[in-house]
């Protein structure tokens, strides 16, 4: 299944500057696995030592935060957009 992954600026050093990377994967975990095989080193920027998402990285599947879904096991449909977005502050 072909998915579109949106890479944030700080991670584009791993993707030769590419903003969009297409991968074939069925879950968020597989997305990260495929990204890592295409662009070795990128996993370490997304996941912490335990393999979970880093505290300051949010991952969205079609606009929904995967922490509201099934985290790394969240399924992705053909044509889904996976956005990796560093957390940002706001409000009080």
């Amino acid at each position: 299944m072909s998915l579109k992954v949106v890479i944030p600026t700080p991670l584009r050093k791993h993707t030769a500057g590419a903003e969009i990377v297409e991968v074939d994967a069925g879950t968020v975990k597989e997305v990260i696995d495929r990204l890592e095989s295409k662009h070795p080193g990128i996993r370490n920027s997304i996941c912490d030592d335990t393999g979970g998402l880093r505290r300051f990285i949010n991952v969205y599947v079609d606009g929904e935060d995967v922490r509201f879904l099934d985290n790394l096991n969240t399924p992705a449909k053909d044509g889904s957009e996976i956005a990796i977005v560093p957390a940002i502050s706001g409000g009080k």
Binding site: I88, S89, G90
Partner: protein
């Protein structure tokens, strides 16, 4: 010329020059402005600060601005109001309200952070500023940008109170409503910031912007005679304000401006319909579980608080606590403050009052100490939060008036 040494990652400690940057390139954690505190301690005294005009720039050595400020010259130095009538109702010996209800120019504490951000945008020669906002930040960015003559792009959740939308559009800002909640808007904002060379106050200007919040702590301490209070109750959305109050008090202590060591306990207040930081404190954890907000306190409706991790940590480290308030409790809190002290606050202030009451009843707040409650915004911004029935209508006759007075206790 400032005393800024640079930016430093709060997690891995990596250092960066003081430039436009959202987060650490290695771990994406927030960046913190670091200063030459020895230099500041040498340069300022209580007397020097005390002799300066009543605005937040009286603490300029502790703020990250290189040149003189251009906008926000009347921002800050809001009243610290002694609140004896409310104190009596709550059962407190010494209560003060830090009243950012009357903040210049847009009646919320956000004027402090936008003063920093917009001046910094001018310093960086940015062509436009922008933000994601739950309302107060939108008002404030739009106003300060107008005063600076810089275009502003403001992204808001579509459900925002109409009054707050108008109070943003009036300044000529380009307002874009986004389907979804604040967290959706914030994500979009982060993505826009990557494509357009603008200063997003809560993205790439964030390390500087957030420093403005420290001035609330500086003012509280100075207005108490250069002493930190026993307890401070602070409303929390993203968790940045309470974190910066912690930093601000620590800085005053470290540069020797306080007469006593800081033992202040920090107390966080959220709405029950959006309480991820309170939830973490209750679990005695710093692990934030995001929520989908559902509360009348829209200015606090951030379900995925970026500084929540730090806020819950500081609350616990200082020996404080956190609690939440339901929508009816928030309305009651707004009314209690208005009726006892003559201060009409918005929903976030209602949250602070309601939660203070709970924290006193649960024994967390020391009744004999000096308590300060942060009142962060004006009630005229969210008048619908306190639904009143229309007043009774009478004929313009003295008898009709006398009829109304019957049964009113204080009339003889």
């Amino acid at each position: 010329m400032s005393f800024v040494k640079g930016l430093q990652c709060r997690e891995c400690g990596r250092q960066y020059p003081a430039t436009l940057q959202a987060g650490c390139e290695d771990c994406f954690a927030p960046l913190e402005v670091h200063y030459d505190y020895a230099g500041i301690a040498h340069a300022v005294t209580r007397e020097i600060i005390g002799s300066r005009p009543g605005n937040l720039w009286r603490y300029r050595e502790l703020l990250p601005l290189e040149a003189d400020p251009v906008v926000g010259l009347a921002t800050g130095w809001t009243p610290l109001v002694r609140a004896d009538r409310l104190a009596k109702k709550l059962g407190l010996a010494h209560l003060y309200l830090k009243n950012d209800n009357v903040s210049f120019p847009t009646l919320s504490f956000k004027d402090r952070v936008t003063s920093m951000a917009v001046n910094k945008a001018i310093e960086f020669k940015l062509e436009a500023v922008g933000c994601a906002s739950t309302g107060n930040l939108a008002n404030s960015v739009a106003a300060q940008a107008a005063a600076a003559g810089i275009p502003a792009y403001i992204l808001i959740p579509e459900s925002l109170e109409r009054s707050k939308v108008t109070a943003t559009q009036i300044y000529g800002a380009r307002v874009i409503a986004v389907r979804g909640n604040y967290d959706d808007v914030n994500r979009l904002c982060a993505q826009i910031a990557e494509r357009h060379p603008w200063g997003f106050v809560n993205v790439n200007l964030r390390p500087f912007y957030a420093e403005g919040s420290k001035t609330m702590a500086f003012e509280i301490a100075e207005q108490l005679g250069w002493k930190a209070p026993t307890s401070i109750v602070v409303p929390m959305a993203g968790g940045a304000l309470i974190s910066k109050i912690h930093k601000g008090l620590g800085e005053l202590e470290s540069i020797g401006l306080l007469k006593e060591p800081v033992t202040t306990k920090l107390y966080g207040a959220q709405a029950a319909g959006c309480n991820p930081i309170v939830d973490a404190v209750r679990r005695k954890s710093i692990d934030i579980r995001p929520v989908k907000p559902n509360t009348i306190a829209k200015s606090l409706a951030i379900g995925n608080p970026a500084d929540g991790y730090y806020a819950s940590g500081f609350i616990q480290k200082t020996g404080g606590w956190a609690d939440d308030a339901t929508d009816p409790e928030i309305s009651d809190g707004i009314q209690l403050l208005a009726e006892t002290e003559g201060i009409f606050t918005e929903t976030a202030g209602g949250v602070s009052i309601a939660v203070t009451k709970k924290l006193i009843e649960s024994g967390h707040i020391d009744r004999e100490g000096v308590t300060v409650i942060a009142i962060t915004g004006n009630g005229l911004k969210t008048p619908d939060a306190v639904p009143f029935e229309s007043p009774e209508v009478i004929d313009a006759k003295i008898d009709s008036f006398e009829q109304v007075l019957k049964g009113v206790a204080h009339v003889a």
